[in-house]
């Protein structure tokens, strides 16, 4: 039994008829072609699929598209507003990535963290990103990038 869902993604409203088992991440990637959101572990561990659902970071591999019906979603593609978001700028400047696969999720989780805590300590950043895994183990520069972004966002 398919269901019609209407989801506003990065400010654009989309209506699709989907199977209830369709995951939000597949809705974004396969239905809308927004492939910036990656699928890593597909088991709620790695955080590569992190997006914002009504302003909160969630793992889109563990949310059904039907659960997001009527909601607002922001993906990595929707973060920049004419120019790079301070987090995107900071990940670039601090080289907060190696292969880049975890980066969209890292940035979306970091945006959630900074919205709740604009001035996090290093420990708070590491704890705030515990749900995001970097298999290149490039955490040092990721933390530095979040610190740099927090500074930029204060100005």
């Amino acid at each position: 039994m398919k269901r019609e869902v209407t989801i506003t993604v990065n400010g654009v409203t989309h209506t699709r008829t989907v199977e209830p088992r369709l995951l939000l991440v597949h809705f974004l990637r396969d239905e809308l072609g927004l492939t910036g959101t990656n699928i890593g572990c597909d088991s709620s561990q790695c955080g590569a699929c992190t997006v914002h659902l009504d302003g909160q970071a969630v793992k889109s591999c563990t949310v059904l598209a039907v659960q997001a019906d009527g909601c607002r979603v922001t993906t990595i593609e929707g973060l920049a507003n004419g120019k790079l978001h301070p987090l995107q700028q900071a990940f670039w400047e601090k080289h907060g990535l190696q292969c880049g696969f975890c980066t969209p999720g890292m940035i979306m989780a970091s945006a959630d963290l900074l919205s709740r805590n604009p001035n996090p300590t290093e420990e708070e950043i590491r704890r705030g990103l515990e749900g995001n895994l970097c298999r290149c183990t490039g955490y040092q520069n990721i933390v530095a990038a979040v610190q740099a972004a927090a500074e930029m966002m204060k100005k």
Partner: protein, 287 residues
């Protein structure tokens, strides 16, 4: 990974949800989905119908009533961890909620879903049992209250009837003179607890007048460490007295869970070590 297909329902009221649960074959309630959806992707669960209770407004929220917290079943771990009311009236519960999973998991996972899932490695059950309180469940014949002490009945099993839905969790709060603490060892990969010890201690006139200690993770359901509680009650919260009590913390554990990561013997050992840490911190916070 895709779940097996299913029909999806999104009731607007608890009554409608109960009606659907009673009439749809092989139906399951979908709360935050952070245990159920992974289980469905692995095909460990293949419900024919999901009843999504995520849009029933009265199921979310936290109220303080007569020193107790009344928490709607769909309240997320993140909301509990950040709640000023929970931090003020029951800081141990806020700490436990903040330890679950990671921020994204806490943004979706709910207290009702977590306690109904009854995972032996879950953080809420030992803490809720140590704090005391009850679960409100609604079925076709109305609502009933189930004490935490009788709620978890076996591995991934609760006292709920198949057509009942948890609507609210009531937790005893505490104030000055009482301290709570949760000491746990997490599995390094999953973050789930291997063993966790939850302690709530009241100190009056220099002695522990009330001690509540519960061990989770070592057995299918959390176990009250009655011998340790009795050993410390009426005694001063000194290091020696706490150590002597903590040594008895595993007395109620028979047939502990053992797996390739942590044997049953190791879990019994951890129960005593973590009980000592939890009791020490709880007693310090009580003073």
């Amino acid at each position: 990974m895709f779940a097996a297909n299913f029909d999806y329902y999104r009731p607007a009221t608890v009554a409608e949800a109960v009606q659907l649960l009673s009439t749809k074959e092989n139906a399951k309630i979908l709360a935050g989905g952070h245990s159920l959806i992974p289980a469905m992707k692995y095909r460990l669960a293949q419900p024919s119908a999901l009843i999504d209770i995520g849009r029933i407004p009265e199921l979310s929220g936290i109220r303080v009533e007569g020193g107790k917290l009344r928490i709607g079943a769909m309240t997320t771990h993140a909301a509990i961890a950040a709640s000023a009311d929970v931090k003020a009236h029951c800081p141990l519960l806020a700490e436990a909620a903040d330890k679950i999973g990671d921020q994204m998991v806490r943004n979706r996972g709910t207290i009702g879903g977590a306690i109904v899932h009854a995972d032996p490695a879950a953080d809420y059950p030992p803490n809720l049992l140590a704090l005391g309180g009850s679960v409100t469940a609604v079925g076709p014949n109305g609502s009933r209250t189930i004490d935490f002490a009788g709620f978890w009945t076996d591995l991934f099993t609760t006292a709920l009837a198949p057509n009942e839905i948890v609507t609210e969790v009531t937790v005893n709060g505490y104030g000055k003179g009482t301290g709570g603490a949760y000491a746990d060892l997490q599995h390094p990969a999953s973050g789930y607890i291997v063993v966790g010890a939850s302690a709530v201690v009241t100190v009056a006139n220099g002695v522990c007048s009330k001690v509540s200690l519960v061990i989770g993770g070592a057995t299918p359901n959390p176990v009250r460490a009655s011998a340790a509680e009795a050993a410390l009650t009426g005694k001063a919260p000194t290091a020696e007295n706490i150590a002597a009590a903590a040594a008895l913390a595993a007395n109620g554990i028979s047939n502990p869970i053992g797996d390739s990561f942590a044997s049953g013997d190791y879990r019994v050992h951890l129960a005593k070590v973590l009980a000592k840490r939890a009791l020490t911190q709880a007693a310090a916070r009580a003073q």
